[in-house]
Symmetry: C2
Subunit: 187 residues, 2 copies
């Protein structure tokens, strides 16, 4: 049970930039403490990401060029939610586009906020099992190679600081902690 | 060992917005696959965050109003890196400002990228132990309440989807997985 809390009040909102993916706003907000602050907020459409967990205990990651990160990162397959698209459908679509895999089962693992200090981005994480191989379909903007390894090796790479992408770190640690088991998903 | 990879090449970079915290750029980048894409990239100064782990196995979280997230979130204490500030010093400073606690030991847990698809933000995570209580020093823009609970309860809240802030999810799952132990930190 959460106690009721005073609301914040948006005094002004200025759209600064509308891009293909992000929108940037300056907002003047009267906070619950009565102080009015100017906030810089990046609107993001949200994303879905999925751990492809094979029957033999391996996972398929993608090794992807990320200009904002200045290089190549190991990540779980992921992509932006399209307008009106359900997160689970997005996860299954990106899984196939980026790795060629199709899954007989895709189930929720966790939904989290990447960086609530300045963005409304939400990432929906899933686990995909019952995997079969097929053709990839990379977009022109995607520079991706597929890397399959034991889950234990992927987790070891998180511990060594070699895997640093937030959604990938969360998904691998959550899987190692036993989250997302089928019996937990309910009927 | 990583094989050498073709570099990307920045063809153009336009500064769209320079805020108090974020800077937004449109960049035309020739990717390693030869395709030139227009990317929207948010520069962020980076942040440090810290799990205050008490001797009795409890952790201190902050319950904070986050306008970008549309409400109140449970988070570990955190804040932006100031110019030239070492991440560890930032973590210790934010710990005291937000919770009043001071630590006899602050050690690294993990460094990760929050959302490499559109931002260069890096978060440096730490564990603080040997905690003693004192006075908080909240900024005007910070609407914060302190919440102390057993680590196991905090992790259970992650599993139930009640704690959804990315840095907090990572820190709690990493701590539960035994990362950041003093013997791992080296001499």
């Amino acid at each position: 049970m959460s106690t009721p809390r005073p609301d914040a009040r948006e005094v002004a909102s200025r759209a600064i930039y509308e891009g293909r993916i992000v929108r940037l706003y300056e907002k003047d907000v009267t906070l619950p403490n009565g102080h009015t602050a100017r906030l810089e907020i990046v609107h993001h459409p949200g994303a879905a990401a999925v751990v492809p967990l094979h029957d033999d205990g391996t996972v398929t990651l993608v090794h992807q060029y990320r200009h904002a990160a200045g290089g190549w990162l190991h990540e779980i397959p992921a992509g932006l939610l399209e307008a009106g698209e359900a997160p689970l459908d997005c996860a299954a679509r990106e899984l196939t586009e980026e790795t060629g895999l199709t899954a007989s089962d895709v189930r929720p693992l966790m939904t989290y906020r990447t960086t609530p200090g300045f963005s409304d981005e939400v990432v929906h994480l899933f686990i995909a099992t019952g995997l079969t191989e097929g053709q990839t379909d990379h977009g022109h903007d995607e520079v991706i190679e597929v890397a399959r390894m034991p889950l234990a090796e992927a987790v070891a790479r998180v511990r060594k600081g070699e895997i640093v992408d937030g959604k990938t770190v969360i998904a691998l640690l959550a899987l190692e902690a036993g989250m997302g088991k089928q019996e937990e998903a309910g009927p």
